[in-house]
């Protein structure tokens, strides 16, 4: 507030001085000019009456000549002073109004308001730098989970959009350069309740600056950064950035995994992306040669990782020498039949359309399909708004850098236990993943899968902690029972149990829960609420454990009877 107040006062100096000078001259004039009273005697106005007269003359030019009719000299002075005061007021008011429209003043006002809003946040929050496509997706997903956020973006349009975005929580947004320490400062990077910093700007250097600043303030705090080059990735890693995402590298890994270990890939995609669509690859032969159109950042990342996994690849690139494409690269766009035939599309297993232009990518896919209707298609979708077109093209695997980055960051913040799960998954074989897919598929049917985690402590699971404190055992199976009728299972699967440093995948349902356990569950969204009920309500947990209805059962029975009816009616 300080800055704005001082600026306001400073700008008000000239208008105030103008008014004071005009009023004092005017008042003095009325005191000095002789008048005549009602008896015709010479008379001088005193300061009190003079100031009274000037006050209403300046603002209303009304009320007439008081206390006695004016002489010609007094009238002349009044005339001059009417113009002087009116001009003085017009100037002053104009000056004040223009101050409120002044861009630099407005910027300062917005900064001040933003700083105040950040200061008022008492809950833990995350700072997101960059509100582009990725930022938008991440912010709305985290917001859905009730996680408080603060956003910085250099583009004023992005901040306008943030304000227009209907989010659940009030998200303070500031238009400013995230590389500027002062901006980061007022965005709360130095605050204790800032749980993590996420650098998502388009500029590697800015992301670097944000990450360094955060690590200097608090080395233990979570820092997630996007990176677009290998050099920058190495730099970020050197000072301990917790998680660095290169969208192209990440997707290249996804793609290889889906080619080599399709079931495991499906499992990880299932838990990461709620609207996961099972890719047909497990049922197709993916072992042959691939064609990749475009040798930019994405092409290079694919080249590196395909080489490591010894997957034969043919590249198509319009300027192979400039981009340093490997030998055997076919010259062209890939959008023409001729080029695709040169790349021997007839004998290829799949084609990856990886250019930075969505229209080109779609054209590549459609041309390739015309020659080989059964080819596996993978397309890079650059703009979120082009989603319907990619959907309509029925591409087998859509690579959307925006979605990849946002989802990866989201699970790291919302359910870090999922990362443990994915790590454990690596050690398992394809058969195991396949069985898990079937099991989860039976539970969630065709609805979106949700994953959530909780720790057995007094805050998140008061009922369980209470039970354990009385020496009564609670089993994992108890969590997966319908609180309304314990004979029915909840549509949920316990994926992982973390106890200290031991992690158990798909733990036995009869495992007893101990205080301090971390549990990862996936299932239908509605199961999450029921499970929270079990872990948080002592009566519900007792019913699940013993089958005995809780005291105060009248209300309870009425409720459960009411809740049981609708499903019955549906059947």
């Amino acid at each position: 507030m300080g800055h704005v107040f001082y600026l306001l006062l400073r700008r008000l100096r000239a208008p105030f001085l103008t008014i004071i000078v005009i009023y004092s001259i005017s008042t003095l004039g009325f005191v000095l000019i002789p008048g005549v009273d009602d008896q015709g005697n010479p008379w001088h106005m005193d300061f009190f009456h003079a100031f009274y007269f000037v006050s209403f003359m300046g603002s209303t030019i009304g009320f007439g000549e008081i206390p006695y009719p004016f002489t010609a000299a007094q009238r002349a002075w009044t005339m001059v002073m009417i113009y002087a005061t009116v001009i003085g007021w017009l100037y002053s008011i104009g000056k004040i109004l223009s101050l409120f429209q002044d861009p630099s003043f407005n910027r300062l006002m917005r900064r001040t308001t933003f700083a105040r809003r950040v200061r008022r946040i008492s809950d833990p929050f995350y700072l997101v730098c960059g509100f582009g496509y990725t930022g938008k997706r991440l912010v709305s997903r985290l917001d859905e989970q009730g996680i408080q956020l603060v956003v910085i973006d250099i583009d004023p349009l992005a901040i306008d959009e943030l304000e227009a975005h209907s989010l659940g929580l009030a998200v303070p947004g500031l238009c400013g350069d995230a590389a500027d320490p002062d901006t980061l400062n007022i965005a709360g990077i130095r605050r204790k309740n800032c749980m993590g910093v996420i650098a998502l700007t388009n500029d590697d250097h800015t992301n670097l600056a944000v990450s360094i600043d955060s690590k200097l303030v608090n080395p233990d705090r979570l820092v997630i950064s996007r990176s677009q080059s290998a050099a920058n990735t190495a730099n970020l890693a050197s000072f301990g950035t917790d998680y660095i995402i290169d969208p192209f590298e990440t997707f290249a890994q996804h793609l290889v995994k889906s080619i080599r270990e399709p079931y495991k890939h499906n499992v990880s995609d299932l838990v990461i992306n709620p609207h996961h669509k099972v890719w047909a690859s497990p049922y197709q032969d993916t072992s042959g040669r691939w064609i990749v159109c475009g040798y930019g950042r994405f092409g290079r990342a694919l080249d590196k990782i395909f080489r490591r996994h010894e997957i034969p690849t043919t590249f198509i690139e319009i300027d192979p020498t400039l981009r340093g494409a490997p030998e055997g690269t076919v010259l062209g766009m890939g959008t023409e039949e001729e080029t695709l035939r040169q790349a021997k599309i007839e004998s290829a297993t799949g084609i990856v359309a990886g250019t930075p232009d969505d229209a080109d990518n779609l054209s590549i896919i459609l041309t390739a399909r015309q020659i080989r209707p059964d080819i596996i298609t993978v397309a890079r979708q650059n703009l979120s708004s082009n989603k319907p077109m990619f959907r309509a093209a029925a591409v087998n695997l859509i690579m959307e850098p925006v979605r990849i980055i946002a989802d990866e960051i989201f699970i790291r913040i919302n359910t870090p236990l999922l990362m443990d799960f994915l790590e454990c998954l690596q050690a398992r074989d394809e058969q195991w993943a396949r069985e898990l897919l079937i099991q989860v598929g039976e539970v969630v049917e065709d609805q979106p899968l949700d994953a959530w985690s909780f720790e057995v402590d007094a805050v998140q699971c008061p009922a369980i902690v209470d039970c354990l404190g009385r020496g009564k055992a609670v089993m994992l199976d108890h969590l997966c029972r319908d609180p309304r009728n314990r004979e029915n299972p909840l549509p949920a699967v316990v994926l992982l149990l973390k106890r200290g440093s031991t992690r158990t995948l798909l733990p036995d349902p009869h495992t007893e829960i101990l205080a301090g356990d971390e549990i990862l569950v996936c299932g239908k969204h509605r199961a999450e609420g029921s499970m929270k009920w079990i872990t948080g309500n002592y009566n519900v947990l007792r019913y699940i454990r013993t089958g005995v209805e809780a005291p105060g059962g009248l209300v309870w029975q009425w409720l459960s009877a009411k809740r049981e009816k609708p499903p019955a009616a549906r059947q």
Binding site: L7, I20, S24, D46, F47, F48
Partner: protein, 127 residues
């Protein structure tokens, strides 16, 4: 030479001198204290105050405070004067005059403090 400083020093010193001129004389004798001098002291003091608006330095803030004190005293003195002349049956009497002059005396102390601070600031800049 800083024009802003010159103008401010001029006004703050002028406020002091006007006020001193008004203050001089027997405290309860209306003939020794002229209303024009009080008026000049008040106007000049107001101008000096506005000139310190928005000064973010520590000295600037203190100077703003002292001249606000002077304004307050002088405005009170002017109000008492107007009340004595216009609202009472007797008009200006020695008792009223004494309270007006003592109020202006308070303003004089504030003006004097401002000038001392100004001199101190100037000396600190020189060294």
């Amino acid at each position: 030479m800083n024009a802003e400083k010159v103008v401010f020093a001029f006004f703050i010193l002028l406020a002091l001198t006007f006020n001193f001129g008004f203050f001089l004389g027997d405290i309860d004798n209306p003939e020794h204290h002229h209303v024009y001098e009080l008026y000049a002291a008040l106007v000049v003091s107001l101008i000096a105050t506005v000139m310190k608006f928005g000064d973010r330095t520590h000295m600037g803030a203190v100077l703003l405070a002292t001249s606000l004190v002077a304004d307050l005293q002088l405005i009170l003195a002017a109000v008492v004067w107007a009340a004595a002349v216009n609202f009472t049956e007797t008009g200006m009497d020695p008792e009223m005059m004494a309270s007006i002059v003592s109020l202006s005396g308070g303003a004089l102390v504030a003006n004097f403090t401002s000038v001392v601070l100004l001199i101190l600031e100037t000396m600190m800049v020189r060294h």
